[in-house]
Amino acid sequence: MTAAPLTVTAVSRRSTPAWAAVAAWGAGLIELALGAGAITSGGPAWGLGILLIALGAAGLGWGAATLTRGRLLAPRVGVVGALTSQTAVVAALALGPASTSVVTVGAASVLLIAVALACARQSRRRTDAAPPRLSVLSVAALIVAALVTPALSATEAGLLAPDHSDHGIVDPGHH
């Protein structure tokens, strides 16, 4: 069996679910970290923390389901979910500006807007289910990891991590 040659447009359409799914994973991880930080810090942001964790988990699940099916699932719900997440992330910055980094919110915003745009585009035009190209997935993984890693480092959990220069060697053999 020989595969039909792919045009640039066909490759682009075929790649959209993979990009959106990987972006949703990245945004989901950031939302989970922000949510966990809001919960552990206590105060009025506790409820927002629960919402962020729920949205982050939903994002991870949606991304996995999208990759499994090979097409963007429930694109209209995806747009609403991405915009709700965007609002929650900005609310986390507004409620806790001292504990929420602009870098974290910025990275989450980029990823969530990408998901919303992909879903909005998909809701107007159905595409065939097809597995993503390995090269597309690899590039998406590197870009999202490059965005998410500093974003997670800038969360409350990440800021607790000391630099190499300011703490000594810990010997686990001594109590």
């Binding site: 990987v22 991880l29 500093p150 607790l160």
Partner: protein
């Protein structure tokens, strides 16, 4: 094997993780087995002996699965990808605590996260049907 993205990715990642695991021991001389601060592999990735052993185990599992069959490669890609994705978030809460028994640092998180996305993405998206899996095994 080349017709199956899962087998290809598992084999390549397996070989790389085995190499990284073996190479890590050159940088962890005198480092405690579960020390929260280890040596710097390639100058940036922090590792301790336990971290090296985990790399060797992950590499061996991926390589064996990649060389075995599509089903094995797909299964192990999904499992290791999901674990690495989980580590991507949990790891940040462990760093700076006594629970950081793998001596994880930010560059480790980047590598784990990128690996997680590729492994889990390929595991979920590629070789979806048993028919294509059987075809790939016969190539």
């Amino acid at each position: 094997m080349r017709s199956s993205p899962n087998r290809l990715v598992a084999t390549i990642f397996g070989a790389v993780y085995l190499l990284v695991g073996a190479l890590g021991f050159a940088y962890t001389g005198g480092v405690g087995f579960v020390a929260t601060e280890g040596g710097l592999l390639l100058g940036i990735f922090e590792v301790n002996p336990l971290h090296n052993i985990v790399h060797l185990l992950v590499g061996a599992a991926l390589l064996i699965a990649g060389l075995s069959s599509v089903v094995a490669a797909k299964t192990i890609n999904v499992i290791i990808g999901a674990v690495y994705l989980l580590l991507g978030i949990v790891g940040f809460f462990l760093v700076g605590t006594a629970l950081n028994i793998l001596a994880l640092n930010t560059f480790d998180h980047f590598l784990h996260l990128a690996s997680a996305i590729v492994l889990l993405g390929v595991g979920l998206a590629a070789d979806r049907t048993l028919h294509s899996a059987r075809d790939a095994r016969t190539v």
